[in-house]
Symmetry: C2
Subunit: 131 residues, 2 copies
Amino acid sequence: MDRIPILKVGDCLLVTIQVDMHDELAMSLQEDLTMQIAKHASRGVLIDISSLEIVDSFIGRMLANIAAMSRVLDAQTVVTGMQPAVAITLVELGMSLPGIRTALNVERGMELLREFIGRDAEAEDVDGAEE
Amino acid sequence: MDRIPILKVGDCLLVTIQVDMHDELAMSLQEDLTMQIAKHASRGVLIDISSLEIVDSFIGRMLANIAAMSRVLDAQTVVTGMQPAVAITLVELGMSLPGIRTALNVERGMELLREFIGRDAEAEDVDGAEE
């Protein structure tokens, strides 16, 4: 169990984080995820953290890094399933996860991603028409 | 990390098994899964085992139990992402996972579930028409 599985669902990639993250695992997740985005030309990444009871600055930074890397590769990232207690703690600690979009659950996250992907496609059409 | 998260995706529930299963975790997964099927009236269960490098008789029995429980609750189960080495070992050990449907990856598993759900719905329509 060295790597976190990445599931391809349509245009998007789905990752559920279930185990305690450590440096090596976070690095391999970032590497695998960027590889998979490039391989499948994925437009969205959905990260479910519903089983995490603690989100510390390390996890927060990892999520921000993944979101930034995905953005560079033209994919949107949504983090879903944050437990209420985690949200409270994050804000109390002054970590409001800037640059990371969140949704209540996977279904809403998927909807959000579809919206973003649709909007990007429209913007591209407009750009294309102008050329 | 006491419980394996169960994600609701449309009509189906999605579970990715990433950690070593032990008795208690298997029991709580079965319990959670049956609760979620009943709660959301789900028609399909998709279990991804792509990160499992070993599938022994305990895991095999757990998967068979989940499939049987889901069937009783009117939901179909598909196991996806089995590693080639796991498939070889299972057959060599004489465990061919009877009663468990498998698919190569989550996308194909979803397609398979949609087919089953569609077929069930058609069968119900016919039954309804005969009454």
